[in-house]
Symmetry: C2
Amino acid sequence: MTPNNPRKEEQSLAALLAPDILDLLESEPGSVAAETEDIHPADLADVAEALPRSQIPVFLATLPAPRAAAVLEYFAEELRTQLLEEMSPEQAASLVAAMTPDDRADTLEDIDEERAEEIVDALPENTRRDTQALLAYPPDSAGGLMTTDVVSVPSTYTVEETLRRVREIARSGRREAMNTVYMLNVDDTLAGVMSLRELLAAPEGARMSDVAWPEVRKVAVTADREEVARLISEYDLVAIPVVDEKNRILGVATVDDVIDVIQEEQTEDVQKLGGMEALDEPYMQMGIWALIRKRVGWLAVLIVLQMFTTSALQQFDAQLALLPVLMLFVPLVISSGGNSGSQATSLVTRAMALKEVQLKDWWRVAIRELPTGVALGVILGAIAFARVAFSHYAFELDWNIAGEPLGYNFEEKGNEWSAVGLSVFASVAGVVLFGSLAGSMLPFVLRRLGFDPASASAPFVATLVDVSGIFIYFSVALMVLGQFMR
Amino acid sequence: MTPNNPRKEEQSLAALLAPDILDLLESEPGSVAAETEDIHPADLADVAEALPRSQIPVFLATLPAPRAAAVLEYFAEELRTQLLEEMSPEQAASLVAAMTPDDRADTLEDIDEERAEEIVDALPENTRRDTQALLAYPPDSAGGLMTTDVVSVPSTYTVEETLRRVREIARSGRREAMNTVYMLNVDDTLAGVMSLRELLAAPEGARMSDVAWPEVRKVAVTADREEVARLISEYDLVAIPVVDEKNRILGVATVDDVIDVIQEEQTEDVQKLGGMEALDEPYMQMGIWALIRKRVGWLAVLIVLQMFTTSALQQFDAQLALLPVLMLFVPLVISSGGNSGSQATSLVTRAMALKEVQLKDWWRVAIRELPTGVALGVILGAIAFARVAFSHYAFELDWNIAGEPLGYNFEEKGNEWSAVGLSVFASVAGVVLFGSLAGSMLPFVLRRLGFDPASASAPFVATLVDVSGIFIYFSVALMVLGQFMR
């Protein structure tokens, strides 16, 4: 939408370049690598994806392994998995070996398990051990997120020695998380940290133990990846070391992976808030059947819950026979509760996800939602009352109350609409207040019970409030109408 | 919830340290700075916030300006604004001057406008010009996000000269975004980029123009901050240069700011999806009245839209008189449409926010939602049918159809419930399909009309589907019942 949208340009760039690459692949495959050398791997992945499907492996084969691996890392997950599964385990292993350790583990996790084992077996000894260690961590843990390439030096090193070591590693072409250098004690426990830039600022002769920061932000290998994201974001870090229970460094989690985590967790939260299971893949890449399976569960639960509205309405059969016009306002009344409940739930689950609100804050939220719910209820109730008045004057609804059979007699004939209006006003106010409270408290209840508070979806809250809304509406209506009758 | 939650420790750490600091402030204020030297500014901000409100400015005054500024950057926005407004403009200026340029601009933007101008006037000449330039950019643009401290060198420099320059800047104590060095042409346009680590790996004697990457990811100063976030996240960058229309570097946007942008945008999207205006502040910090104002607008719109359900029900007055039992299933039928619509809307707005789906992809989404909606509809319809059957056998509902007045006669007496069951089945199926399609297409329609697709909130979709659901239900019911009658 913005006037200068680089995305647009790139897409057409990819589309423009693809035919050239295709020509080169036929005429002079040996020159493809040199011709595409200056293109960022992310963009080259776009170009590759624009090629005919059968030419993609041919194209990748023309690139040196490290380059092909970098490009593969930016492919859509599904395509990358397919391509690697089609190759021989040895071919796949040579590509996968050239990836950064964390991307290698992530890539292997997507691949069919048996095939992944064959690929791992074909990896060089050292890489294999590393990879197996990474694959053993749960994907949602700090261990599953980290990369094992870390730049560390003994605390006895000088700044000059450290810089020399950094240079060595950088020149070896390994693609480490190298903006930070970690200092280790003799027993390999974490002793300090220094950014590359602080290292450059430090006097060359100084000992690392004198200049490095002894207080290191770190995270346990078993910690949740959301915890990693929170620490990196709170302390504005580019990387955080991942340690075992003895404070020995196992790897490092970097900010680029954390951004992916934040996006993924947010996508999951939005999907849960929309009333479904979180999808494992992008929406457009999910198979239709997989999509249906993820969506039908909650819908089935909700329709079963919603059935209680039918039972609730049955309860008030006699009252409905007495005053059928009440029925006309049922959807209006119950949905205002559902809407205010959806608001409150969205607010509170998001505040919980951002850690702005803890479990123990439930009463602070409740005392905010109470006046908010009252004010919203009164305003919406007034609007609903106006609607009843409008119906009365514009359409001359049949307000006649067949009350006699139950012993009621309406006192002021011709003014029955105002009794219905008052009932609607009071019940909208009550339902909106109830919705705000129920919607804001449900995430706390779910968390307290050990469930994910994000499961308190908007449709779930709306359904709960619908059922109670019917009870509130008819009870209030009977009370109000009772005042008008004798 | 995780066993080793550092957040817990920190909070108690802050609470534990606060009394010590308080003692020191009384007995030996001169030693506070030295005693707290090793604490990360983010943690020290937590400690400061745990002090009695009146002691916070006293505490800040004991720290050297750069340290106090770093701590202030981590304060809650509201408290930071208050503290700076309470100080003299000169005091505030000395703190603000020590902040990074982007945080300085953000901080000043929160302060009362007149007071902010006084503070800016009290800044040193150079800093003032910089700050005024930054304040001129819209806060939601790349210009509003960037910092102006950039490390750049002429393209004629050697690697050695560049490293020397980087060292100089690092030693001067300025807090630049220094993981990347930019290379400029003589006319100050951007010629290349090199990470600090690539710089260390490069041969010292090489010219920058020979070793730096000539293709630089960059972003226009006028670009939306979401575009900045997208580029940094797509290319795994730690910083991206911000350029004017002549490709001259104006500043740099860093990954830590981008994480904040991603979180903020996501919070806004969740709030809109919940059916309200996005809040400007965290939920717990909003005043109650401000909160009500943000929430009442959409609720009022929704209740007015929802009024059409009343009108729709009025349309079917005669049918209702014919078969009052139909009424019992109205909430059940319409809410299944609302629920499936909420799912579809959440999926599509999120996919749009992640740029997985573009405006032109609407038909690809539609042909996914069509079979999905049919399958979901049939499954949910079957559940609803089972409910009707259950009502019939368990409760012996009064299914008698008072059809004669309209000329209907039910063919198989005693089997009327199955006619109602089929009506409910067919209308749930229809409403769910309609909900899935309407919910998935609405974000496209809104974007096409120039609105924010995130405004297609779950309650909005549910309300739209409610009204149409009543029409679908009664039309289908009349059709089905027509088949059973003669």
